[in-house]
Symmetry: C2
Subunit: 307 residues, 2 copies
Amino acid sequence: MSVFRLGLVGVGKIARDQHLAAIAATPGLELVATADPHARLDGVTDYRSLAAMLDAEPSLDGVAICTPAHLRHELASLALRRDKAVLLEKPPGATLAEIEDLRSLAAARGQVLFAAWHSRFAPGIATARAWLADKAVRAVAIRWHEDVRVWHPGQRWLWEAGGMGVFDPGINALSIATELLAPFFLRRATLEVPQNCQTPIAAALAFRTAAGVEIEADFDFRHEDPPCWQMRIDTAQGVLTLEEGGARLVIDGETLMEEPEREYPGVYAHFRDLLERGESDIDIAPLRHVADALMLGHRRAVAPFHD
Amino acid sequence: MSVFRLGLVGVGKIARDQHLAAIAATPGLELVATADPHARLDGVTDYRSLAAMLDAEPSLDGVAICTPAHLRHELASLALRRDKAVLLEKPPGATLAEIEDLRSLAAARGQVLFAAWHSRFAPGIATARAWLADKAVRAVAIRWHEDVRVWHPGQRWLWEAGGMGVFDPGINALSIATELLAPFFLRRATLEVPQNCQTPIAAALAFRTAAGVEIEADFDFRHEDPPCWQMRIDTAQGVLTLEEGGARLVIDGETLMEEPEREYPGVYAHFRDLLERGESDIDIAPLRHVADALMLGHRRAVAPFHD
């Protein structure tokens, strides 16, 4: 088996919590170096910038970009122009225009670009997809509730313009829904925005497919622990429920699957596969739905939020 | 010359003000019928719905959809599935997801889909584009100011969620900028939203190209007549200015072109050409920039607006 040599760009919380272990657990991937102006990892060669890493490590096959979203476009552009494959943490950019540009650039350079939506690799998703393939979906209800103080303590950027608020977890639900269901379109949205914040603390979204299936999504940050990350899909042939973000799969009340969360190993196994095949996987749909919701949604001011 | 037979869907203000005369002025196009539940035109066969028109007029080649934006996706889908070409007024849909779906559907059906951005057909645009082709752009300043009470009297929908506010004219500027310039990406946006409205009355946008060119756009509805619809493009080889929305083209202070506005005849000449060639023209970029601005922009509450 060939081994692909990777650099990690942005040594922050998500890199330490998820990416390192997932790379280590994936046969055929090797972490060679990191690039971060402020942080490093014990035992891994480190550079202060992506440019320095690319200059010093010409044999790198690709990079995983785990920086804040607004830095990803410039870094990914540089890596693609230097003929490196790129994995982007979610969301793949700060704007849709940036991601479209990266898609064009990757195609022009013949390089691999992977916009990773980690929730799509939750244990139950592939089985859910296979089960749904021959079913007639009638209605979908998504509930994605969590306590922001538990899951995002002190993350002030969430509440600033571009920070997405409750869409930061909500986009995970949308990444699963867009993976499992026929294309759907936003009809109405209500966004509850704390008076002292720029982004919603809760959102109620009503989508519809071309076939008329209604999809209701309800995101809320004001939920006491434990979180509720649930998607219920009613079909003519039974009810499928994904719970715990896809770690548990229930069909007609019977638990078909319940496994520990291991989304990031799935992300890197897929990246490995894309590298082997020289293919890209860039689905803008989850972020496009967020942009549609923020464009179309009716904003209602609610009580101030203090962390 | 072959003649393409058209139906007009939505007999409202824009259809009467612009589309009828433009179709009549375009050789090779013939208006056969209209579809509107509430309105009709003297001397033109009329139907109460698109479905009724398609049933009764099987020889139609295409339809122009001039309804409110939130109705366009369903109507355009129906027309494409019935193998009719489709022209969409701007914006081509209420959400980006809808437009992406129409793009896929048109490709799958092998049908012509034209997302019309009328400002791209202003007299000076083609000449500006040709002049810019071999110039090095250094900076761009867009000023799109008009008195909303003069140009949009009583249009309450502008101020409701999804109504886009000042982006309704601002998207015209963005449609010209995306036609003339290299791809650009939003860095910052400030949106001024009246306390009693959902959408901005003014917006200040800062974009940058991959080459580092700064593009500043300033949209404002609180401007006394006459309007200022101006774009200044500084290049290493001189300064190009489009005024009056593109009707006047000035290079280094010299007026190269000044012509009466005739954007819609240009729209229909292009649609005629697309029909002849069996090609589509679907550029999502202007609406994508609006969605990016509404996703990334910092909102500031300003004085209430009363029409």
